[in-house]
Point group: C2
Chain length 343, copies 2
């Protein structure tokens, strides 16, 4: 089934069930007012949400209304846990290669993961408010939402705890990263609020494209309306979501509603010169990767980071061409523009 | 006023108002069932909670019942944000000195802060379940809970957003830290679930001891019943809570209920040889600091990390000797013992 959260009814918004084709939705206050409430009591809530989903798809839902992703918040407007992995090692290898450094052997066996902030996500169509000087970048990723995961869970047990799948734009402020990482405590200011896809879906909804605990579909990224990337999220993912969740749960239990991300999707191209979409490649899911390729090829990056007014769109389509999750559309704004827009 | 959360009524527990002397408490379901709910609508909730607090202290509360910290969860059993600073630079200087490294100049102007996991805290008397080989340590700190903090808030505005003050044991797994930090993404597995004091208090409750956005009282730490530390939390704190919150809010807004920590409390001793309590010093708020002093003095640490069965107690007393927040008492357990204990 497909679930979304409308921007109405308080800080956590209002849970709706969404039809498979994303045209209709229905609030379910008798089951759960918020997605977190449904996740807190998933075994009781899921069958009842599934009934509404079936009714929506059959045209029998009594309280159906049109679904408009512009009214959506992120499925969890605020969450208790946002742990983002870095499972596509091609990207890690490029970063190091651009720097002239080696990839440590442990990176191939022990997932990279950072602790993200989760108190205040932006919605899928909300502005990214940031200064251009900070080096504004997007990172297109796949993420899962878990149920309760016990401390020390195996990857297999962790995989069974996956409740929902969604997309994420893990907004990154590249120019703040070097100084922040040099301090040794990881990301903080360089990872502002992320935006998630309007719709989160249960893994069964993905059919054969959800296998080996990975999502096997191209992640489609456009920048200001032009194709920028379409790498396959199931290809070159070195650690599946079960392993990523188990990594996060090694020394702590994870509470229901924890979000675990894949890291920027990235495919290993046959050769660097063929990696961009213009050259017939699959392109990229963040500007930094293109800039690293440019650095390796030309000695320095040529593509700038995002400027105020730039828009990145992140979406994934099923085999029939239907949008699975709806699109994330993040436009960059400066604080003063944003304040004016809010007046 | 003083607030606590009892372990009853669901994942977020049940909010109670606690009398100043910590002997009585009263649920306030008509005001807010949970502390997060009160923080979400603080301006409406706070005056009503204050009425109950006054009634409790005057002996006029109709539904008062005995308060037992053993039945408490952390005030926020799960939170949306847990950002922990490192505001006592004496500790940072010792870490570097033990390594033979310099402290970067930026550390004196730009707070160190890491993004903590907040989905599943342990209670103030709950076991810390971890393997001894991980190098189990405590970190006794002060933390504040904020209201909504806008993106880019000044330290002054951030200070005004402080709603509550509490203590925290930021459990740390020292032997996992070097490999984790070497990966460059900061702490994750090395920072398992933290434990907070049974009671959170409003700043006005602290009187003159809350000034310059710092808490000026000794933080009292005992290890297996023996005095271990009593440094003053207001002394040698290089960044006040306003600056720490503003640092966290530089590129993102903080949602009501965000927790911001001080980092391990540490006072600069007149000389290393006089830093331990046995030698007339104020002692330490974590084992690592003592081990660093031992390393500087003797070439290697002599004090082991915590072993299964060890208990650390963290508490703070008002000028009359009353416990302000109740005590955190964390006993270390291995996973199998803990499972038996739960049977």
């Amino acid at each position: 089934m497909k679930l979304a959260t409308l921007k109405e009814g308080g800080r956590d918004g209002s849970l709706v069930v969404v039809s498979r084709d994303l045209t209709l939705c229905q609030p379910v206050p008798a089951v759960a007012r918020t997605l977190q409430a449904a996740l807190d009591d998933w075994d009781a809530a899921a069958p009842r949400l599934a009934e509404t989903y079936a009714a929506l798809n059959n045209g029998h839902a009594r309280h159906a209304r049109p679904f408009d992703p512009r009214h959506c918040h992120s499925p969890l407007p605020r969450a208790y846990q946002w742990a983002d992995g870095s499972a596509y090692l091609n990207q890690v290898e490029l970063v190091r290669k651009a720097r002239g450094a080696e990839v440590p052997a442990s990176f191939y066996t022990d997932p990279l993961m950072y602790q993200g902030g989760s108190d205040s996500f932006i919605g899928p169509r909300d502005a990214v408010v940031a200064q251009e000087a900070w080096g504004i970048d997007f990172e297109a990723e796949v993420a899962v939402v878990t149920g309760d995961v016990p401390l020390g869970a195996t990857p297999e047990a962790a995989a069974r705890a996956i409740r929902l799948v969604m997309l994420v734009n893990d907004v990154s402020l590249r120019n703040l990263i070097p100084a922040e990482l040099a301090k040794g405590f990881g990301f903080f200011q360089s990872k502002p609020a992320s935006a998630f896809s309007p719709v989160a879906v249960t893994p069964d909804e993905l059919g054969e494209d959800w296998r080996h605990v990975k999502l096997h579909r191209p992640l489609v990224v456009t920048l200001n309306g032009r194709p920028f990337g379409r790498p396959d999220a199931g290809t070159d993912m070195s650690f599946d979501f079960g392993r990523l969740i188990a990594h996060a749960a090694k020394t702590r239990e994870l509470e229901a509603g924890s979000i675990v991300g894949s890291g920027t999707v990235s495919n290993r191209p046959p050769g660097l010169e063929r990696s961009s979409i213009e050259n017939g490649g699959v392109g990229y899911c963040c500007l930094a990767e293109l800039r690293m390729v440019e650095t390796i090829e030309q000695g320095q990056p040529a593509t700038p980071f995002m400027r105020h007014g730039d828009t990145v769109r992140i979406e994934m389509f099923d085999r029939e061409g239907g949008s699975i999750f709806g699109a994330i559309e993040s436009t960059v704004a400066c604080a003063s523009d944003h304040a004016e827009g809010n007046d």
